[in-house]
Structure formats: structure tokens, C-alpha cells
């Protein structure tokens, strides 16, 4: 299995945490991987992007136009990283707004890209805190995942980080995302029309 991810958001939103969880899932599924994080100044509220690649790649960075999946924890960071998507790729965005707007809608349609929007922050806030919005997006993705990454592996991985109370809330956020994948809005791309 080869699958490449971009995880985008703002410092403090949990970009690094989601990357860490993805690595644990890949490990759980016995898949080779390499990823790249950014630390330092940008973590103080600035744009943060991490790369994660499952497969026998050696370099840590995803090439432009080659990401299978983007997780965007913030809407403008979703737009900012769209050019990473490959044809037929999928972007998961934490937003309650219409996404993507013109002219991106048309560009993505041409590339057969699906956009999944979900109000992850609101859902996560209902459970515990906005900081587990990343796991709502992950749940949503795993639900539609037909390849190697399983729900069991994801839940096992989430259980590995943090104290019992935090793990419980994180799992709840993940399951909310998983179960609501049917409710999330899928726009543009042929997949959505099927």
C-alpha cells in the first residue's frame, strides 16, 4: 500500500499529534512509512504543515500534486495546501462553510478530487475540547478507507497516547468522526456523484 498525506493547520491545533497517530496506525498495520514535521517558531499560531508517507519511500516530503489525502484543521490552510492533491485525491476539511469555493471547485472537479467537509471543532467541543477535532477528521477518513488502515488499528493507536481520561475523550472524538462520515458533505469530484 502506498498512500501520502498532508496534515495542515495552525500551531496548537494538533497537526503534530495527528501525524503521530498516523505513524502509530501505520506501525500497527505493519506498513513502512516516513514523515516530516515542523517545529519551532511556526508553532506559535502560524501555519503548520506536516507530511506523512506510507510505502517504501525514502524522502520525508510529499511532492506537489501527489497527496492522496489532506487533513485540513482550518479552512484557509485547506486552500493553501490544495496543490498537493493528486488526481482522485481527497481532502478532509474542518469547516461548516461551503468548500471549496470557485474557482477552486472547478479546478478540483477537473482533477476528480473529493472534498469532505465536517464541523469537527464543534463536534469535538461537544465531547471535550476543540483540540480533538483532528481525531474527528481522522475517524471520518478511516470510515471511508478501503485500503490498509483499519478502525481497530486506529483505535489501538489512539489508546497509546495520553492518560486514560484523555484517551477516552479522544476515542469518542474519533468514533464521532467515524460514524458521521455519512453525514459529512462531499462536494466536487465524480466519487461524490455516485
Amino acid at each position: 500500500m502506498e498512500q501520502e498525506f498532508i496534515i495542515a493547520g495552525l500551531g496548537g491545533q494538533g497537526v503534530l499529534f495527528l501525524t503521530r497517530i498516523l505513524s502509530l496506525i501505520a506501525q500497527e498495520c505493519n506498513l513502512p512509512f516516513i514523515g516530516s514535521e515542523i517545529h519551532g517558531m511556526s508553532q506559535r499560531g502560524g501555519s503548520v504543515v506536516s507530511h506523512f508517507r506510507i510505502g517504501n519511500m525514502k524522502g520525508p516530503l510529499v511532492r506537489e500534486g501527489r497527496a492522496d489525502v489532506i487533513f485540513a484543521l482550518e479552512e484557509s490552510e485547506a486552500y493553501r495546501n490544495l496543490f498537493f492533491l493528486r488526481g482522485g485525491g481527497k481532502i478532509y476539511v474542518d469547516t461548516g462553510k461551503d468548500f471549496p469555493l470557485s474557482p477552486f471547485k472547478e479546478i478540483l472537479l477537473k482533477r476528480n478530487v473529493s472534498a469532505v467537509t465536517i464541523n469537527a471543532t464543534d463536534m469535538a467541543t461537544e465531547i471535550s475540547s476543540s483540540s480533538s477535532a483532528n481525531l474527528v477528521l481522522l475517524g471520518c477518513y478511516i470510515a471511508s478507507e478501503e485500503q490498509g488502515l483499519t478502525r481497530e488499528a486506529a483505535e489501538k493507536s489512539i489508546s497509546k497516547i495520553g492518560k486514560a481520561r484523555v484517551v477516552e475523550k479522544n476515542l469518542e472524538a474519533f468514533i464521532r468522526g467515524f460514524e458521521s462520515s455519512q453525514l459529512s458533505t462531499i462536494r466536487s469530484g465524480n466519487k461524490a456523484e455516485n
Partner: protein, 617 residues
């Protein structure tokens, strides 16, 4: 199956040190190197090892301590970011001459981009400058594996060795195959030899000669080491070949694989670019007509190749001279060197998204001080009291004081103080009194503030210095400082009080203020302003714990603020206080509080932040 662990490149390097019996480890934090030492601490704790681990006050101090451990026969390591090696360079140059006993590894982490640094400098130049070998790993696994080779080389030739990592290795995450841990076995045994450890110039000449001999031998050795270099050469000769090292090689390998030409284009990957493996490179160059060089960050290999008429790289414009070698850059460099097919569809997509992005006015997310950060209050007060001041500042979170207009210069560690005295003297010579208000963090002050302050006192400079004391090294990820006395492994050392240190530097006017008390801070600044007009240097220790650090440990005193109806929507608070939790609501034409991020510090409720008193508690 061999045991594996998910590690960052930094964790992999830490693991490498422990696996190779290195139990004297020194560092000063700096992105992208900061996680290496904490990872050594983690192994020490989980495995119960007798490892000495130190956050030193600066890189030169760290270097000298590690060097000393090495000349007692122990294996040692000193870890820093690339600009830290500038600070430690005096020690580096000299240690190359004297050499070492126990293996000594200098880990220097470069930051092409740059992502979190003031320069994109290439540490391999320091290896050349000082004449010490440098290892250039291409991924976390190799970074760990190279630690073993580096120690062996260091001990065989009694020479310190640099491992040069880069951001994309330090912060790359990989499932790393582990080796076995080697506990601390060696006992300190310093053998006196003044002709070496205290060499006078006469002996230095001799040591220089020995150093040059060592380098020649090492060059020979690394030329023939198959475990350090990788050569793929199909056939006898080829019109085009690539020489690479570091993470660029990893990116290159993926791109060639993607183009289905990995294994059909000759590639030479160098593990030790200095001392230059001349024989190996010479042979490769003889068999190619044109050679593209891909290396981070500067032109080291490119410069060391003698057959430069064949070379394509930075000197010929085929590779950019600034910034990271991302997959896109590597691809276009290969493309410019030998035309390769590009997928039109993919290129069109990327171009159209990028041009649409340019047209779309996306909100810019610049880094900013956290909501509730006490530095914000200090910067606000400085600007308020001294609107015409000059504001030299320094390296740390508080560099973000630029957002509040209270940071004018950032040069290097400690330069807030040296530049404050510099500004004072430049204006004073003209008979002009120019208020200068410098800001420096506590960790940066311990790093290189004292010599600057002593100099300023000695030479009668006059300015205000605010030491923004949040009792932690925050920007690099919460490393403890000498101020609290907490050591790298969480045990207690001896705290060194800032106020006593400042007094010891000869400063007589010292006040300590909590910046959350904005009114007192403002009156203290005014008092300091009077003092510097006539007498000397005024130091204010603006003390409040980092909120990111405190949040984990104790509850903050909560003061819920709200916006009153008399908000005029003038946005003075948004612009001059610049707290991300204060947002202007376009519809209501009033300021609002983003409760999701507000930490209820209550500082913005001070009358100085809203001229109409519309922020209340």
C-alpha cells in the same frame, strides 16, 4: 524481527549515542536540534542508565565540557543547531588540533529553508574550516547508524567528528531499527600531556601537521568504505550522473524511482563529504560526461570536485543557492540538467491552484505570542511609554514582539544588549540622547548576556534592559534554565538568580515587576526612563512564567474579561495589544473575545489597553 521504534531523526541520533556507550551528553537547545537531549534523558530514565546529561548555558560551554569528557577517555557528544556551532567555533578549531581520546561527536543541525533560524549556513563548511570529518546522513535510520561509524572514526584517528543533520532529518519520523544499548563502561582517566592539551604555538605547528596527515588517511579510508557511500553505476560510462548527499539523496532516490530510472542513471551518494573521498569521486567523474550535484545547503561537494568543467549545480545555476531542496526543486534541477518528461496534467493543476491562491485573499497566519503571554504586556508597555524608542531584541519567542512594534533588531544571541550599547554610543557621540529599550529572554541572557552587560556598564552606556523572565526556554520546547536550577533530567541543580547576576555585572538600578500588572510596569518603565537620562543602565526583570509551561502545572488566576457596550470599535486594542483572542467583529463593528483561545489572564482589561475602558472584568 529486530526491535523497532518510531523516532524522529533527533530521537534516532539520541538512540545512536546510547547504543554506542556515549554517556556524557551536552547541549544548548535550538530548533531543529532541541529534541535530541530530551530523548537521551528518556532513554536514561526508562533504561536506568548512568548517563550524565546537561543543558549547558551555551554551545561553547557545552562543547568544552564534552571535549573534556572525551580527553578523559570517555565517549561524549555535544549537540546544537547550526548557529550554535558559530558560538562554539573557537573550541572546535582548537580541538581539531589537539584531537580527542574517547570518541567525540558534535551534532550540528542545519536548517535549510530556513524554518526557524537566522541563517541557512552549512555546517559542513565548519568541518572544512576546522579540518574535522563530517557525516551527512540522509534519513533518521542512517543518522542513528552513522553514530557508530562516527565514534569509531573519532577514536581511530583521535579527532572530533561532526554529524551534520538537517531539519528534514531531525524532524522526519520513521520506524527505526534499534541496536543494543551499551552502558557506560569507561572510567575517567586523564593522562597529562602538555605538548598536546596545553600546546604552545611551537607544538601547535606540530599538531597542525599531524592533523593534515590524519585527514589524508581519513579521505583514503572513506573513499573505500562501502557502508558510508553508495554507488550505482550501470555500464562503464554514461553521459549523465548525479552526486548527492544528505536528505537531498533521499528525495532524489524517490524521484528517480518515480521516473522509473533509479538504477539506470549513475548515482553516487557520499556519506562523509569531508575529508573529501577523492579517489571515489574521481573514478565516478571519469565515467560521466556531465554531473549534477544535489546537496544541502551550500556548495561543498561541488567546490571540492576538481573536475569542475563537468559539473552542473549551484555554480552553474542548475540548483538554487537559497532555500530547501524540496522534491519540486530536486525535480526541476534534474529537469534543467537533462530534460525529462513532465506530466502536463499534474503541472497544469498545480499552476492553476497556485494562481487561484494568489488571487484569493487568504488570511495570513503569522506566528504570534500566545494569548495570555506576559511578553505581550511588556511589549505593549514599552511601546506605550517610549513611542520614539529604539528597540533591540533577541532570539526567542519574544522576537514576535515585532508584531507589536516593540522589536526593531534581531541579530544573534545576546545582541539585544550589545546593540543597545552600540546604539547608545552612536547617538551619544553626536550629543543626542536616544532612548534605547532592549529586550532579552532569561535563557538568552544566561547564554550570552553577561559579557555584553559587563561591557555596557564598563563603557558607561545608558539604556533600559528588560529581561523577559518566563523561567523557561520556551520557543525551543520548554527546556529548563539556570534561573530555576532545574536540570535536564528533572533533578535540581543550583539556581542562579537573575537579579544577583545583573547586580554582579555592575548594574545598580534593578526592579522586578510582573508584567501582568501593566500599570506598575508602565510606571517602572517611566522611572527607568528618568534613570537612563542621567545615570546609567536600568534593568527591569519582567517576571511571569510561560503560560504554556504553567498551564500544565497549576491553575492560573482566572480573570474573565468582557467587552462593554461602550466599545467604539476603534480597534486600538486589536492593533496595539495584538492578542489573538481580541477580534474585530465586522458585522457588529465592535471588538469581541474569542473564548476558545482566551485564557482569562485579564491583562487586556487594564485601562491602558482600552482608552475608553470598554474591556472589563
Amino acid at each position: 524481527m529486530m526491535e523497532q521504534e518510531i523516532l524522529l531523526g533527533n530521537g534516532a541520533i539520541a538512540r545512536g549515542l546510547i547504543e554506542n556507550g556515549c554517556h556524557m551528553v551536552y547541549s544548548y537547545p535550538g530548533t531543529p536540534s532541541s529534541e535530541i537531549l530530551p530523548e537521551v534523558v528518556r532513554y536514561k530514565k526508562t533504561l536506568g542508565l548512568n548517563t550524565y546529561i546537561e543543558w549547558s548555558t551555551n554551545e561553547k560551554v557545552a562543547f568544552d565540557n564534552a571535549y573534556t569528557a572525551s580527553i578523559t577517555g570517555k565517549r561524549s557528544s555535544v549537540i546544537m543547531k547550526q548557529v550554535g556551532l558559530n558560538v562554539a567555533s573557537d573550541s572546535l578549531m582548537s580541538s581539531a588540533y589537539t584531537g580527542v581520546k574517547g570518541g567525540m561527536i558534535i551534532v550540528s543541525c542545519d536548517d535549510p529553508g530556513p524554518h526557524s533560524s537566522q541563517t541557512e549556513q552549512d555546517s559542513r563548511f565548519f568541518a572544512m574550516f576546522s579540518h574535522v570529518p563530517v557525516f551527512d546522513p540522509s534519513d533518521p535510520q542512517e543518522a542513528k547508524d552513522m553514530v557508530e561509524s562516527a565514534f569509531l572514526l573519532s577514536e581511530k584517528y583521535e579527532i572530533p567528528v561532526i554529524i551534520r543533520s538537517t531539519t528534514r532529518i531531525c524532524h522526519a519520523m520513521q520506524n527505526v531499527t534499534l541496536g543494543t544499548i551499551k552502558e557506560c563502561e569507561r572510567r575517567a582517566d586523564f593522562r597529562k600531556d602538555t605538548s598536546r592539551w596545553a600546546a604552545t604555538p611551537k607544538f601547535r605547528y606540530k599538531l597542525h601537521k599531524e592533523l593534515n596527515k590524519k585527514l589524508k588517511k581519513i579521505s583514503e579510508e572513506v573513499s573505500s568504505r562501502e557502508d558510508l557511500n553508495y554507488v550505482s553505476f550501470p555500464g562503464d560510462t554514461f553521459p549523465f550522473g548525479i552526486i548527492s548527499s544528505g536528505v537531498s539523496y533521499s528525495i532524489l532516490k524517490d524521484i528517480l524511482s518515480d521516473m522509473e530510472i533509479f538504477g539506470t542513471v549513475p548515482v553516487l551518494k557520499l556519506g562523509v563529504p569531508y575529508p573529501f573521498p577523492e579517489r571515489l569521486v574521481e573514478d565516478f567523474c571519469n565515467r560521466c560526461k556531465r554531473i549534477l550535484i544535489l546537496e544541502d545547503t551550500d556548495l561543498v561537494i561541488e567546490m571540492l570536485i576538481k573536475r569542475n568543467e563537468k559539473i552542473l549545480g549551484r555554480s552553474t545555476g542548475h540548483v538554487p543557492s537559497e532555500g530547501e531542496l524540496t522534491p519540486e526543486v530536486v525535480y526541476s534541477s534534474i529537469n534543467s540538467a537533462c530534460s525529462v518528461p513532465v506530466k502536463d496534467e499534474e503541472r497544469d493543476f498545480i499552476t492553476s491552484v497556485k494562481s487561484a491562491l494568489q488571487a484569493k485573499d487568504l488570511p495570513v497566519h503569522r506566528p504570534t505570542l500566545c494569548p495570555g503571554c506576559a511578553h505581550r504586556a511588556s511589549f505593549f508597555a514599552i511601546k506605550k511609554v517610549f513611542p520614539g524608542g529604539i528597540f533591540p531584541s533577541d532570539i526567542g519567542c519574544y522576537t514576535l514582539g515585532i508584531n507589536l512594534g516593540s522589536v526593531d533588531t534581531v541579530l544573534d544571541m545576546g545582541a539585544a544588549i550589545t546593540m543597545a550599547s552600540g546604539f547608545y554610543q552612536a547617538y551619544h557621540q553626536d550629543g543626542v540622547f536616544q532612548p534605547v529599550i532592549a529586550t532579552i529572554g532569561d535563557s538568552t541572557f544566561y547564554h550570552s548576556g553577561t559579557s555584553a552587560l559587563i561591557n555596557a556598564v564598563y563603557n558607561k552606556a545608558r539604556f533600559i534592559l528588560l529581561i523577559l523572565d518566563n523561567s523557561i526556554t520556551a520557543m525551543t520546547g520548554m527546556q529548563p534554565t539556570a534561573g530555576t536550577g532545574e536540570k535536564a533530567d528533572g533533578t535540581m541543580g543550583n539556581p542562579v538568580a537573575l537579579s544577583e547576576l545583573v547586580r554582579g555585572c555592575g548594574v545598580n538600578w534593578i526592579r522586578e515587576v510582573d508584567p501582568y500588572d501593566l500599570t506598575t510596569l508602565i510606571s517602572t518603565l517611566k522611572e527607568a526612563g528618568d534613570y537612563i537620562k542621567e545615570i546609567g543602565i536600568a534593568v527591569i526583570i519582567a517576571k511571569h512564567n510561560c503560560i504554556l509551561h504553567t498551564k500544565k502545572k497549576q491553575d492560573l488566576t482566572r480573570k474573565k474579561v468582557f467587552i462593554k457596550d461602550n466599545c467604539t470599535g476603534c480597534r486600538y486594542c486589536v492593533k496595539s495589544f495584538e492578542c489573538p483572542a481580541l477580534v474585530y467583529d465586522e458585522n457588529r463593528k465592535k471588538v469581541d473575545i474569542n473564548r476558545k483561545i482566551c485564557i482569562d489572564c485579564g491583562v487586556c482589561a487594564d485601562i491602558n489597553v482600552c482608552p475608553f475602558g470598554a474591556i472589563g472584568t
